[in-house]
Each structure stands twice: as C-alpha cells, then as structure tokens.
C-alpha cells in the first residue's frame, strides 16, 4: 500500500468550516487516481495533506493520519517527504524558483537542497529534461518559456527528486490547448513508468482516460471512490465525459450495463 489516509480532517486557522472531514482511502503502488469535486470541495487541501504541506506549511487543526510509503506525514519533514512524493501546482509561473538563470540549473535547485553529489545531479537533470521533451530548452531562462513548457519544467524539477508518487493539482487549468496536450503527454509518461499518480482535474475526458479509480469529494467529505465508469454512471450531479453523455443519450450501455467513459470504448458501441 503506497498511500494510506486515515480519517483525515483539517480546518485552516481562521476558517469557519472544516476543509476536509473524515477522509479515509488507500492507494496501491502504480495506481492512477483521479480526484474530482467542485470548487471548495477540498481537492487542493487533500493534495497539500498528501505532500506534507499540511501540517508543516499551512497552519490549522489536523485530525487523523496520512501515511506515505509507511511514513507518517506529521512526523516527517517535507524535505524528506519530497523524495517520496512530489507535487505540481496550477500556476506554472509560480513554481519557477527564480534563483536560477537557465532551465538546466532550475532542475538542480531541489537536488542541491537534498545534497546530491554533482555527478548524479547531472545524470538526473539530463534524464528528466529528455523525458519531458525540454532538453532543447536547457539554456533558456525559465521565465521565457511558454506555459506548457514551464509546467513540464515544473514536472521535471519534481521528478528529478525521484519520488514514487506524484500529485498533480490541476496542472493544466492555466494553459492553452496546446500546453494541455504537451503536459498530458508528460503525464502519460509518468503512467508508463509505473508511478503512483494522483491527478486533480476538471477535464473529465482526461480523467476518465487515465484513471484507474476516481475519488469524488463533496464539501470536504469523500463521496465516492470507484472506477471511472461507476463514478460517472452513478453520480448524476457531476459532468460526465462527452462520450458517456452521448452513449447515455443514445441509450447504448456496455455489456456490463455501464456507459463508456473513453473514446476507445465508445467507438465499438456506436459502430453497432
């Protein structure tokens, strides 16, 4: 078991209501978990709790426990946790450290902090730049990149720390369609490499395509944690992928009685 969240609750200092309450779930090694929910449903708070920003960065009242690879996040400093679990945030721009002048050096920021020897640093930097297709930008100033490139750089910086779990908090919400495509190609690589990924996303087509399971949050509580087909089939309140909507409208369920959520599953049904 890679992640174990046990009865997690959190209220920000000064907040009237609990941002999270009674959240319990587990994630296995290599699973791809989508996290959905309306605004203010606690998605980003959950992401912060998974990487240790709660309770180490945000002040507030925390209940319950989060275990990452067996480590209790309350007892482990972020500097240590970040080598187990990485996070990419919404705004590409604010994830650039600002202390480095080139893309290549930017990746070294976290590695210098953890005290990695120089030769290993170079090896890792070259590997992640290549992996996310930004090796040709290595001498550019990080701030001169496009949104999609910057977000892939943010991902590269995190992946250079070699975490086994990656949390992506709406990584494409501030990008143009081209940037979204670029970032999803990189996310696909994480999945290929067998990493455990938790993706917070509003674009349900992407969630449905990648996720093994979807975790649905509502008002800080866990409403449902199941396969995409069951989530979109049994929660009429949420926006289902367009494929599901089409098949529901045409009344074309799959053999198991559920409606498809991906293009791949939809085509054979509609061909008849």
């Amino acid at each position: 078991m890679k992640i174990k969240v046990d009865n997690l609750g959190f209220r920000y200092t000064g907040g009237k209501e609990r941002a999270l309450e009674g959240i319990t779930f587990t994630v296995n090694q290599g699973e791809f978990i989508g996290i959905m929910g309306k605004n203010k449903s606690g998605k980003s708070t959950l992401a912060s709790a998974l990487v240790g920003l709660i309770p180490h960065f945000f002040k507030g009242a925390m209940r319950g426990n989060v275990y990452i690879d067996g480590l209790d996040t309350q007892e482990t400093p972020i500097a240590e946790l970040c080598q187990k679990v990485g996070i990419v945030f919404q705004n590409p721009f604010n994830q650039i450290s600002g202390a480095k002048l080139t893309v290549y050096e930017e990746v070294s920021f976290g590695l210098e902090n953890i005290g990695l020897p120089r030769n290993q640093m170079i090896e890792r930097i070259e590997e992640v730049l290549e992996l996310f297709g930004i090796a040709h930008l290595k001498d550019r100033n990080p701030f001169s990149l496009s949104g999609g490139q910057m977000q892939r750089l943010a991902l590269a910086c995190i992946m250079a720390l070699r975490p086994e779990i990656v949390v992506l908090d709406e990584p494409t919400s501030q990008l143009d369609p081209l940037g979204v495509e670029e970032v999803y190609k990189s996310i696909a690589k994480l999945k290929e490499k067998g990493l455990t990924v938790l993706l917070i996303e509003h674009k349900t087509e992407y969630l449905a395509e990648y996720s093994d399971k979807i975790l649905l949050l509502e008002n800080g509580k866990l409403k449902n944690y199941d396969t995409p087909e069951r989530i979109f089939g049994t929660n009429p309140g949420i926006q289902a992928p367009v494929y599901t909507q089409v098949c529901q409208a045409l009344n074309k369920p799959k053999e198991n009685g559920l409606y498809p959520v991906t293009l791949k599953d939809t085509i054979p049904l509609l061909k008849g």
């Binding site: 960065f57 972020i78 945030f89 705004n91 604010n94 450290s97 202390a99 070294s108 701030f143």
Partner: protein
Amino acid sequence: MKVYTLYVPGKTYIHKMNPLTKLLYLAVAIAIPFIAPDPAITMACFLIGIFILGWAKVLHRVIYLLAMSILFISTIFIIQGLYYPGNTTPYLILGKLTFYKEGLIHAMVISFRLVNIMISASVLVLTTRPSDLISSAVRRGISPRLGYVMSSVLQIIPQMATTADTIMDAQKSRGLETEGNLKTRLKAYIPLLGPLVLGSLVSAQERAMALEVRAFNATGKRTFLQNEEDYTVSKAINAIIILALILTIIWRIYS
C-alpha cells in the same frame, strides 16, 4: 525578457575567476585610494581596472556606464569649484560665477575615486553572473535562505514589473486614464496597487509552497551543480590583492 543584470557572457579567465576573488579585488581597489590619497595611486588602480576590463573584453560596456555618470561628475566639479572651503585661486570666471583652482583639483580627485569605484565594480558586475557570486558565498557559509532571497530578487522584480504592465493595460482598456498631467498619472497608480500587491502575496505563497516541496528547508549539507574553478590560482590572486592592501597601509603609516 527583462533581466536586471549587467553581466556580459564571456569565456575569458576573468569570467572564470572565483567571484569572491573579484569581490575582494573590488573592496581593495576601492579602499586603496582612500588609504593612500595620492593621485598616482588612484591612477594606478584605475589603470589596473581598465586592463582587467580589457582582458575580459567588456571595456565598451564601461564606457557606456561612464557616459551615464557624466552628469553626476559634472555636479561635483560645479559644487567643489564654487564652494570648496580651501578655494583661494580663481581659475575660471563665467559671469557672476567664479571657479577656483583648489576646488577643481579636489573635484578631480573625488571624480577619479568615483570612476575608480565604477571601474572596479564593473570588473565584478560585468564578468560575474549574480547566481555564481551568491552560490560562492553560500559555499563559504552564508545561509542558503539569504542566498535565495538575493538571487531571486534579481529575477522576480522584473516579473513583477511585467505583471504591473499587464494590470495597467487591462485597466487602460476599461477606460482608466493613465496619461496626461502628473496628477492623472499618479492617480492611475492607485487602482494598480490592489491587484499588484494582492497578486504578489498570492504568488509569494504559491512560490513558497513550490520551494518547500523541493526541499528548500532541508537541514543536511547542500551540494552545488556548478563546479568551482581551481582554488590554487584564486588563492594566489587573493594573496596578491591582500598584500597590495597591506603595503598601502604600511606606506601610509611611514610617509
């Protein structure tokens, strides 16, 4: 993209030199003319500076800097020429204004020192990447947090300026008057402040989170991507610079 640095990339030995050696050179080259107020020594420091800048192939950039300081230097000549306390020998009379020889000589000494400071500082500033200087300082025990603040400011302030321009454009497009007399222009800054300050606070928090998850607060020993250049040569140069300082002090005491 705007970057607030005067660094000129290059591959000369001066570029590769330990930034702290250049910092030491800067301190000593400024101190010597004050310790030994002999114009010949100031001149020597000045010529050494020019020689180093020529070696680093950045002399043309200094001429530009010096040109910008002409206004300032000319005010020194005017003030000292007119009002220097030791003024006795009139040198130049322009209408009601009398410029005195002593004042002008004093102004020349001050200007020379000033130019010397600019030349010596240019050696450091034009041939050293700010991040290299800071990382050298962090290696010598300056707190990495302080180092981060110093290096990020150079990049994040231009970013804030860009954000300010964007906000200004957005408000102009909604009819805010930003051009005209001083009062109109000052008034235009007020609606800029809210979004800029609040936006910067939000960015600062997000950036703090992003740094945090990249082990910014790690307590262990840090390593560095950039290799430092050969110590032995730097040490020898440091020794020469310090020797020059000591000799100047001795010369001053016994003369």
